[in-house]
């Protein structure tokens, strides 16, 4: 059987920064997975995702979030892409896992599933998002960007490739 699920690139911020970029992504895989630990203390812990430098409103998302007392669902059309439903806004880290399906398939729009988990010892949330990028272009660049400010030092992001048989 073919071994798969391989690390492609990883970044750890040595100092606060507004974004993390994975570029020159090969089309050798079927799906991509991003695992991100957003360090606490940043000025922006909402994580926007952009593909191939597309900063237009070609994204949409539908979310589900539980904050410890209620569960709600929201959505936004023709907007920016997001990986997390709610930022912890605290000194605690937030974990994000995102799967991008058929990222190099030039016949389909691109859909991702992302989960975010944060706990601040009294507040926190569990979130799920399905996101859409309305483009058939193969994804070769991924930008992870704070929506209003910087990610804190220590934030990590790793990109994996998963190949089907």
């Amino acid at each position: 059987m073919a071994t798969t699920y391989e690390p492609i690139a990883t970044t750890t911020l040595g100092s606060a920064a507004s974004s993390i970029t994975f570029s020159s992504i090969t089309s050798a895989y079927t799906d991509l997975r991003i695992i991100m630990n957003v360090a606490g203390g940043g000025s922006s812990n909402f994580v926007q995702i952009r593909f191939n430098s597309d900063a237009t409103s070609n994204y949409s998302r539908t979310s589900l979030i539980a904050d410890g007392s209620t569960v709600t669902s929201t959505r936004a059309s023709a907007t920016n892409g997001l990986l997390n439903v709610a930022a912890s806004g605290s000194v605690q880290p937030e974990l994000i896992l995102a799967d991008i399906f058929s990222y190099s398939n030039t016949s389909v729009y691109k859909t991702w599933l992302s989960s975010d988990n944060s706990d601040a010892n009294g507040s926190g949330n569990v979130g799920r998002i399905v996101g859409l990028w309305r483009s058939t272009a193969a994804i070769d660049t991924i930008l992870l960007q704070g929506n209003t400010g910087n990610f804190a030092a220590g934030t990590t992001a790793t990109l994996y490739g998963i190949l089907k048989a």
Partner: protein, 180 residues
């Protein structure tokens, strides 16, 4: 990985030691009533299915094991459609649910994990996470648990849509992975 050998700097390839292996992929060549994985070996601890489907009928996703069409399944779910959140469950079903809805233009994507699929002493539990966003109200994401009340090792998986009364459009693709 780099190392120093006799005063020379040498570069070594990083060994790949993944325990996650690709087993098989099924793709609908045309309109298909189901997509199937068969002859699954019991050599892994868990299985994962990743994929997407298109269905002009707009149906959700469903799954059966070992061609069992009896009322040996159950499910629970938590989901949202952008304006409301939903939770529920059903006992004594003839299939498990893996996806809420689909369409003919935008992918309905699914992640499914089946733990201890080869056990012959335990019933089988799976979890599924589905999302379908078409840039409009009514898009949704759902999480499911599914139970198959059988201690048989899983050797085949049947994927369907529209509670199996629907069809997959061409291009719908599912990939099966084994986790050691």
């Amino acid at each position: 990985m780099t190392g120093v050998l006799g005063g020379l700097i040498a570069a070594f390839p990083t060994p790949v030691t993944s325990s996650y292996e690709s087993i098989a992929t099924v793709t609908a060549a045309g309109v298909e009533t189901s997509l199937n994985f068969t002859s699954i070996l019991g050599t892994y601890k868990s299985l994962q299915i990743r994929g997407f489907f298109l269905s002009s009928g707009g149906g959700g996703g469903s799954m059966r094991f070992n061609s069992d069409t009896g009322s040996n399944y159950a499910r629970h779910y938590l989901g949202g459609n952008g304006s409301s959140a939903f939770a529920g469950g059903s006992a004594t079903q003839t299939l498990m649910t893996t996806a809420d809805q689909s369409g003919s233009t935008y992918n309905s994507v699914i992640l499914i994990d089946i733990i201890d699929y080869a056990s012959t002493t335990k019933n089988k539990t799976m979890r599924a996470w589905n999302g379908y966003d078409f840039n409009a109200a009514g898009s949704s994401t759902y999480m499911y648990s599914g139970l198959w009340m059988s201690t048989s090792a899983i050797t085949s998986i049947q994927l369907g849509t529209g509670l199996f009364g629907g069809t997959f459009d061409a291009g719908s693709t599912f990939a099966l992975y084994g986790v050691k």
